[in-house]
């Protein structure tokens, strides 16, 4: 495919790889992947943000590595190879964090390990990186990680605001409101509420995005 060699780095097709996962093919709201971590880390905004950063790192690098190896990977063990790449990257990231930024590593605690189990990552390796070149794979990885991240942060925003009355750890609901009887919604910090907020986001998205509305 000679025409692809000269394709500009940010051609319309490549830009679509970055922007589509933010909306039309969003990993959480459309493909309904990565729900587990979306429930687990969204009680507060800070962990949701850190999780987003970590997923961007791991997904981008794993996509590139698998894309570079794709012609040599035997199809019968490709899932194992993908898992090995993801797990090694995650362990490596974890070790480096522990050695050089111990404080950050302590804050991340479980999240780093949770990345291995994030189905979005294996989903992208299998669906995209196995059949595409390194550069589009990198864009696809970053795009999907952002698509995952904005939903996570949006969910965390509502859960932290309504559940704890804070944002990023700072109190935003004035004490005056508490004095006249306002109460934090304790249900918000429990996982079921994350599912309901994700459901609400899906509802709003489907009502506005014509491509997602089914024919019947």
């Amino acid at each position: 495919m000679a025409n692809q060699v000269n394709e500009p780095l940010f051609s319309a097709k490549n830009r679509k790889l970055l922007t589509d996962p933010l909306n039309t093919s969003n990993p959480i709201t459309v493909q309904v992947l990565g729900i587990c971590s979306a429930l687990a880390v969204t009680a507060k905004m800070k962990p949701a943000f850190v999780m987003t950063l970590s997923v961007i790192m791991v997904l981008a690098i794993a996509n590139v590595v698998i894309s570079l190896l794709r012609n040599g990977i035997p199809p019968r063990i490709r899932i194992i190879v993908q898992l090995v790449v993801i797990a090694s990257l995650v362990i490596l990231v974890d070790q480096v964090l522990k050695a050089y930024v111990y404080d950050v590593s302590r804050q991340l605690s479980v999240f780093v390990g949770l990345i291995i189990t994030n189905c979005i990552i294996m989903g992208r390796l299998e669906a995209f990186a196995m059949g595409n070149k390194a550069w589009p794979s990198l864009l696809d990885g970053i795009g999907n990680a952002f698509g995952y991240g904005w939903v996570l942060i949006a969910v965390a925003f509502f859960r932290e605001l309504l559940g704890s009355g804070t944002l990023w750890g700072y109190q935003v609901i004035p004490n005056v409101l508490y004095d006249i009887g306002y109460k934090n919604n304790g249900f918000m910090i429990l996982p079921p509420m994350a599912l309901i907020i994700v459901g609400a986001i899906i509802w709003i998205q489907r009502s506005r995005n014509k491509q997602l509305i089914e024919a019947h």
Partner: protein, 248 residues
């Protein structure tokens, strides 16, 4: 189509390469990680004494404030004292005692050692006890500082490895740890009662018991119970020593 032998060769080479990369990384990074762990331990001990240390000044502050490292045996006798950078008795520093190993020794009925730190924070003298227990997903740990009466809590710090963010993980927040200040671990008759982390809040306890209770974390009940359990099981090992000190 790939042959079976190719698949095997590919898998073997992949595993060897990955193992080599990861073990090299682990070996190279180990000294830096161990240093970080020791510094974090000092920060935890200082935090219980209400001294906020950063990773860069923790070693200096530890040396300035922690005057004695004491090792105690199950009978409440002092078997080790490390002071001013030298041993006065014994040959094990409290700082180097592995709580996990000692708790195992206790569980199997063997002899065990307990660490205790004596600190002087600008004139306020306190005894700091390291804690180790179980949370929901992994260990919870911490340090608790008692005043000179060996009864009133003057500070506490907690940490965890894997507790749920926003729920059990909140035990490392200041608002939770501050509740412990001023609480007492012994009742009026001098009996050890520890401090309970109470689901529903310490306010539901009878008034006379409220001095031995703090509020649990909503949605973090198992972690909160783990903290109660940890305080009870660790502190009770020191009671014999405390009684001896107070009677003097």
């Amino acid at each position: 189509m790939y042959s079976n032998s190719y698949v095997f060769r590919y898998a073997i080479i992949m595993v060897v390469v990955v193992a080599a990369v990861l073990s090299t990384a682990a070996l190279l990074l180990k000294p830096a990680q161990d240093r970080n762990i020791a510094v974090a331990k000092m920060q935890g001990i200082l935090a219980a004494a209400q001294v906020q240390a950063t990773s860069s000044n923790a070693v200096d502050l530890y040396e300035r404030y922690i005057l004695e490292e004491i090792v105690i045996d199950p009978q409440g006798e002092v078997i080790g004292l490390y002071k001013n950078g030298a041993f006065e008795t014994g040959d094990v520093r409290a700082f180097h005692i592995d709580l996990k190993k000692e708790q195992y020794n206790k569980a199997v009925g063997a002899d065990f050692k307990m660490p205790l730190y004596y600190a002087d924070i600008d004139g306020q003298k306190m005894y700091i006890i390291p804690l180790l227990g179980k949370g929901l997903w992994g260990p919870v740990y911490g340090n608790i500082a008692l005043g000179e009466d060996f009864n009133t809590i003057v500070g506490a710090s907690f940490g965890h490895d894997k507790e749920t963010p926003g729920l059990g993980a909140e035990i490392e927040q200041v608002f939770f740890q501050e509740q412990f200040i001023g609480k007492k671990i012994m009742d009026e008759s001098g009996k050890f009662v520890s401090v309970q982390v109470v689901r529903g809040g310490a306010a539901i306890l009878p008034v006379s018991r409220q001095i031995h209770g703090v509020d649990a974390i909503s949605g973090g009940t198992i972690t909160s119970n783990g903290v109660s359990e940890m305080l009870e099981s660790n502190l009770k090992n020191y009671i014999k020593y405390f009684k001896k000190q107070v009677n003097i």
